[in-house]
Amino acid sequence: MKNPARKHFEPKLSPYVDGELSPEERQEVERHLAVDKESAAQVADFRAASGLVRLALEAEADKEDWSQFANQVLARVTPEKAPFFERLSASVSEFFEYRRGTFVAAMAGAAAALTVAVLGMRLLGAPSADGYANPKVEVQLVSVEESSTAHPVVLETDKGDAIIWVGEDEDAAKKSGEHHEELEIDQPHQGEL
């Protein structure tokens, strides 16, 4: 016949061995084991059995090749892609955190290059940069609206002037004389010189 204390503690012995009791329960069981040899022997049996099971499982595990286990698991894990703005924000903050020198150098380089370019344009291109590199005025094209009866006449002078006269009377324009100096438009409404 079991004593009442052993009857009370017997269901807790296996959980005790497995480490499943609370600290208070664990202390109570340990006090009981100190005075009850039969329960202490049962605990020893439990531990021995547990050790055998562990050894058997380890032996089984040793039969398997676990060298690629971690890589295989990681290969199946798909990293979650962060939202675009989050990645952008991370990239920008990382850039300014670790590449500030590069950014400053790039800005300085750009400013220097721009300065050189502007100065070069001013120094090298000064005489012609304002649009008047051509020695004299040259008329390229003269046309009149199709609905108009006007007749354009182009003249040039020795001093580099160009005159565009738009006469309403076609015949009068043709009779105006000095044809050797006039670059008269052949077509009534449009011409290219």
């Binding site: 380089g109 721009l114 370019a117 012609s128 004299k136 565009i164 738009v166």
Partner: protein, 140 residues
């Protein structure tokens, strides 16, 4: 280093584009020519009288307005006293040579500007004479 160069280039392209936005200053005078004989003409008007003499000899040339316009790709309107409007725009600026388009209805002209000389564009009748738009390099 490569990234620094790439960043520099990326910064330079738009800045260079801004720096190269072409604007050409043009002296734009509006002159009225009539047959009425004037006692005296200013030297610029005398020069214009001589230039236009190939087509017509005006007795009087009166400067109605004079201004320096900043001509660019964007069309610029210039109101004329005969209710017409002249439109000026820059067609191109290559190797320092500006090609401008001048539209004075009914005419539409395209010309290269020159260091010397002026472009005289007949702008129609006004009062008892002819109106002229004179484009040249700004003085000074």
């Amino acid at each position: 280093m490569t990234r620094a160069l790439a960043l520099s280039a990326a910064l330079l392209v738009p800045l260079a584009a801004l720096a190269q936005e072409a604007v050409v200053p043009v002296q734009a005078d509006v002159v009225l020519g009539t047959d009425k004989v004037a006692k005296d003409l200013t030297p610029p008007m005398k020069a214009m009288q001589a230039a236009l003499a190939k087509k017509k000899r005006y007795g009087t040339l009166q400067l109605l307005s004079s201004q320096v316009l900043k001509v660019s790709k964007k069309s610029l309107a210039l109101a004329l006293p005969n209710q017409k409007s002249a439109e000026l725009s820059l067609e191109s600026l290559e190797a320092g040579v500006a090609t401008v388009r001048v539209k004075v209805p009914p005419a539409d002209t395209t010309s290269k500007l020159g260091a010397e000389g002026s472009l005289y564009v007949h702008a129609g009748k006004h009062e008892t004479g002819d109106l002229w738009l004179v484009l040249s390099r700004p003085k000074g």
